[in-house]
């Protein structure tokens, strides 16, 4: 069957760089699905995206959708014809509903009953006709995180759609949206070739776009930028680390990239690095350059265009950066006029959250949490905590952080250093916000870890107490990420903390908040614990790679004791194929099934143990108990399984040879207590 290339280009006024990739991916998914559902044979789908267009290319698509013949079942023969052998209503209805005639039917025997059958045919269809009907909906159902309206239209899209170009081979696919009709023209680069370019086929399009200064393939643009930067590094004797996120963003800001080097006054190099780098990267999308391991007075930027008059562009960018650095310098010098302690005096006026009060109030709670954590873990950090907590948020009122909020904490640490605070205090101020995002570095110092945990825990418990819980896709305070941050920090520092008990003990700190929201202590605590257990499960699965049913569901997460849970998960993942472990879980399940819902004695009465198998079981269990407990205490779970193993056979023997459910109710309750004791021990490892 004949096949052709298919192309859909949606021309859009500059698409926000952060969304363009996801949009293209959703287009690909939706189109693939629709093609499959409509029996359109295709092969090899690619999506491309630039700031101005989303493009879907199918390298092979059949021009015609083959006709089909399908056998359909009708009424039974005996109810299909009346006595005069005329079709009954039932048969007439069947035929009319499918646009069939009596000639299309035949009779087939199913389990001794004769039924009317027919061959239902569909005619071959032109793919372009089917696509024309499908495409409007496919375009409009592209993932749209933050769409807008324009002109008089009611529909929304990420940014105004300017044109749509669609071809199957050399045949235009004509369809219409509220905003535009598909056309046979595209446009080139915004400034270098912004005229309409007539297109006659998919191949024609692919040939003409590069001539119009559009590099369609995002990977190609990325490689161009990297190669250009490499060349600049050699020419200027600089090293330019290409931050992956920034690079991806830049790739989505240009259709035709040209990298160039700019410079700035070396005097600015006296400023703290974050004040230089933040405006460069976050505001201007420049890559800072280094020489001999130190920040150099140079930067690399990427122009959306070619190198024509690039000196103009370099000069312009230098002016902008220089103005921003001057601002930064001014703010920094302003900040140096007061101490962190002075700045902290303004914090009662800075609201953390309306109901939870100011940052001063938050710090009082953080101090409490940090102090309890310090005592719980015997860290001996009381003095350090008392020194650092009042300074933690002082940089929020600094002029530099007012301008560059992304370097909160970092600036606080710099100011603390300037004022001569000890290294660990400065580090903790910087580390309080770590990790800032998934995969970010964790606090390295113990004090930093304690402070980071306390600050995040206060945010989570506080915001949950005032009912600002994350719901669905809404998590404006990033509480989920903060919870994972806490768990990861606990793990990295191997803090032996029963987080469940810790959170429970902190609940009263938030009493006035949750009470005002009509929650009681139990409801509040349950919510927070459950929130953490869910995060923990996701973290074990997504970040640490443990399988859900084989590993995570076998472990009790409710203690939230990170170090223990992770060790258990690691052990279970390894032990799953171990015979002794399988034997243990089988015995455990056998016991659990037996004792479920049955009354058991409060204490085991040795005098009631008369049965020889039962006696043997208890002797065997008592013999392994001590070493098993020891293995548990040392978190040696493989050792635990080995230790328990010798008693398992005796349990099975007791079950196999005896009626465990004794007629004697006292004996029965006593046996339940014995079995529970055995199973309880094993449950201290797995559920």
């Amino acid at each position: 069957m004949s096949a052709n290339k298919f192309l859909l280009e949606i021309g859009i006024e500059e698409i926000p760089a952060q969304y363009v990739k996801k949009m293209a991916e959703s287009l690909e998914t939706n189109v693939q699905k629709a093609l499959g559902e409509n029996n359109i044979e295709f092969n090899d789908v690619e999506v491309y995206y630039t700031p101005r267009r989303l493009v879907l290319l199918v390298n092979e698509m059949n021009n015609v959708i083959a006709g089909t013949v399908q056998e359909v079942k009708g009424p039974a023969k005996k109810s299909a014809f009346d006595e005069q052998n005329n079709p009954t209503r039932a048969l007439q209805g069947f035929l009319a509903g499918r646009k069939l005639t009596l000639d299309d039917t035949f009779i087939k025997d199913i389990n001794g009953v004769e039924y009317i059958f027919a061959n239902q045919k569909t005619e071959p269809k032109q793919t372009t006709d089917v696509l024309a009907a499908l495409l409007p909906n496919l375009v409009m159902s592209i993932y749209q995180p933050n769409p807008m309206r324009w002109n008089t239209f009611s529909g929304k899209f990420i940014r105004p759609i300017r044109w749509i170009l669609c071809f199957l081979g050399a045949t235009p696919v004509n369809f219409e949206l509220e905003f535009v009709k598909s056309v046979n023209t595209t446009r080139g680069h915004r400034t270098l070739a912004n005229h309409e370019i007539e297109i006659t086929s998919v191949d024609d399009y692919l040939a003409k776009l590069p001539q119009a200064f559009v590099i369609l393939n995002q990977n190609k643009r990325k490689n161009m930028i990297l190669a250009q930067i490499k060349k600049l590094e050699q020419q200027h004797n600089i090293v330019v680390p290409t931050d992956e996120d920034l690079l991806d963003e830049i790739v989505n800001l240009v259709e035709y990239p040209t990298a160039a080097v700019g410079s700035y006054d070396t005097a600015f190099l006296a400023l703290p690095e974050p004040i230089i780098i933040t405006p460069m990267k976050d505001h201007q999308r420049y890559f800072p350059a280094y020489q001999n391991g130190k920040l150099a007075d140079k930067f690399v930027f990427v122009r959306n265009g070619n190198d024509y008059c690039i000196d103009n562009v370099v000069k312009g960018n230098q002016r902008v950066l220089s103005a921003r650095l001057k601002d930064g310098e001014f703010f920094y010098n302003e900040d140096l006029k007061t101490t962190l302690a002075d700045k902290a005096k303004k914090l009662p006026d800075v609201v953390f959250q309306t109901k939870l009060g100011s940052y001063t109030e938050k710090m009082a709670r953080v101090a409490q949490i940090a102090d309890r954590l310090n005592r719980e873990l015997n860290l001996n950090l009381t003095d350090e905590i008392n020194t650092v907590v009042p300074l933690l948020k002082a940089d929020l009122v600094s002029a530099v952080v007012g301008e560059f909020s992304e370097i909160q904490g970092v600036m606080g640490a710099i100011y603390a250093q300037n004022e001569g605070y000890p290294q660990e205090i400065c580090r903790a101020i910087e580390e309080q916000y770590l990790p800032r995002f998934a995969g970010d570095k964790l606090p390295q110092t113990t004090l930093g870890a304690v402070i980071a945990i306390a600050d995040k825990l206060d945010s989570i418990m506080g915001l949950c107490a005032v009912n600002l819980k994350p719901t669905g896709s809404q998590d404006p305070f990033a509480l989920r990420r903060q919870a994972i941050g806490i768990l990861a920090t606990i793990k990295a520092h191997d803090f032996r903390l029963n987080l469940n008990a810790f959170i429970t003990s902190l609940a009263p700190v938030y009493a006035k908040f949750y009470t005002a929201e009509n929650m009681n202590e139990q409801e509040f605590t349950d919510y927070v614990l459950n929130f953490f257990a869910q995060r923990l499960s996701i973290m074990l699965n997504e970040e640490m790679g443990f399988a859900i049913s084989e590993v995570i569901n076998k472990i009790d997460l409710s203690t939230l004791n990170m170090s223990e849970i992770v060790k258990k998960a690691e052990a279970v993942a390894v032990l799953n194929n171990n015979t002794q472990f399988q034997e243990m879980t089988q015995v455990m399940q056998r016991i659990d099934k037996m004792i479920a819902g049955k009354p058991s004695a409060a204490q085991i009465d040795v005098a009631l143990v008369q049965n020889a198998d039962e006696k043997a079981m208890m002797t065997a269990f008592n013999a392994v108990k001590e070493s098993a407990e020891k293995a548990l205490a040392g978190a040696d779970y493989a050792g635990f399984v080995t230790a328990v193993n010798p008693c398992l056979a005796s349990v099975n023997t007791f079950f196999d040879n005896n009626l465990v459910m004794s007629e004697n109710l006292d004996e029965r309750a006593n046996r339940m207590a014995e079995l529970k004791q055995i199973s309880d021990l094993m449950h201290r490892f797995v559920l």
Binding site: E14, A17, R159, T191, N312, N317, D327, D349, T354
Partner: protein, 281 residues
């Protein structure tokens, strides 16, 4: 070399030739061209509009006593609004840059996502900031809501930052060195004024009096809304907004109160917008 007034004139010529009514700056203090009634009311309702004008915009917190080469208590915006937003509005905007002297092939023009929002106006839109060789020269917005009311049809708003553009065109590093006309520099026209207003906002203003003024203006705006007098009610809402900005620059309003004051101004704007739509003039 194009002087500052020439730049304003060229933008007026350009947009006038494209059917815009050339308006005048509004004589009540305000922080942005959006607050000129030509835009606030122009963006409401269904009637097509095309307007362009210069707007002196006061930002008390940006005052620097005339010491900073880039920040001003009052800068000038060139504001264009067209409703419904034309399909080729971005192309037309780029033509306007060429008209004022930026050959598009000699520069790097970018449209970087920026979703404008004005909590006091109860307004937000989607759009971009436009970068010329890395410098933000224009805010480009498609209004989605203004005065808390849905914008349908949608108005396109183009706000040029005149001082920045002029500094680029004249290649000067300090705003006060701009050639305003053939006879005067920007500094000669505005430097002392910058100093006085900065000193007023940061040091001399009477906080108590201003807080009282705010309450009075608010009351007056509400009273006039009740009497169905749209444009005067709006003027008093604008006065609230500017008074608040001065108090905010002075540091006289705590963060908690801040949100509260903003909500009060937004409330006034909303009432005025509702009244306007109920009568659509």
């Amino acid at each position: 070399m194009m002087n500052f007034q020439e730049l304003k004139r060229k933008l007026q010529d350009f947009w006038s030739a494209r059917g815009c009514t050339i308006g005048e700056p509004y004589d009540v203090e305000k922080g942005a061209g959006t607050m000129n009634p030509l835009t606030f009311f122009g963006a409401l309702g269904e009637k097509p509009v095309a307007r362009a004008y210069v707007e002196p915009s006061r930002r008390p917190a940006d005052g620097r006593y005339g010491d900073n080469p880039n920040r001003l208590y009052q800068h000038h915006q060139f504001q264009v609004i067209i409703k419904p937003s034309p399909i080729d509005i971005v192309d037309t905007y780029i033509e306007s840059l060429e008209y004022i002297g930026f050959n598009k092939n000699e520069h790097d023009i970018r449209f970087v996502e920026d979703n404008w929002e004005s909590p006091t106006l109860g307004a937000f839109g989607k759009g971009w900031e436009v970068w010329l060789d890395g410098m933000e020269i224009t805010q480009f917005t498609f209004f989605q809501e203004i005065g808390g009311m849905t914008c349908k049809p949608v108005t396109a708003e183009i706000t040029y930052g005149l001082e920045r553009i002029a500094m680029y065109l004249q290649n000067v590093e300090n705003v006060y060195d701009l050639q305003y006309s053939d006879s005067e520099k920007y500094g000669e026209v505005y430097h002392r004024r910058e100093f006085d207003h900065s000193k007023y906002c940061f040091e001399l203003c009477d906080e108590k009096q201003l807080l009282q003024d705010f309450d009075n203006y608010e009351r007056e705006s509400k009273r006039l809304v009740a009497l169905g007098n749209i444009f005067t009610a709006y003027d008093f809402a604008l006065k609230c907004s500017h008074t608040f900005n001065v108090l905010d620059a002075r540091g006289a309003i705590s963060v908690t109160e801040r949100a509260h004051y903003i909500a009060r101004i937004r409330g006034l704007m909303r009432e005025v917008a509702k009244l306007y739509l109920s009568q659509e003039c």
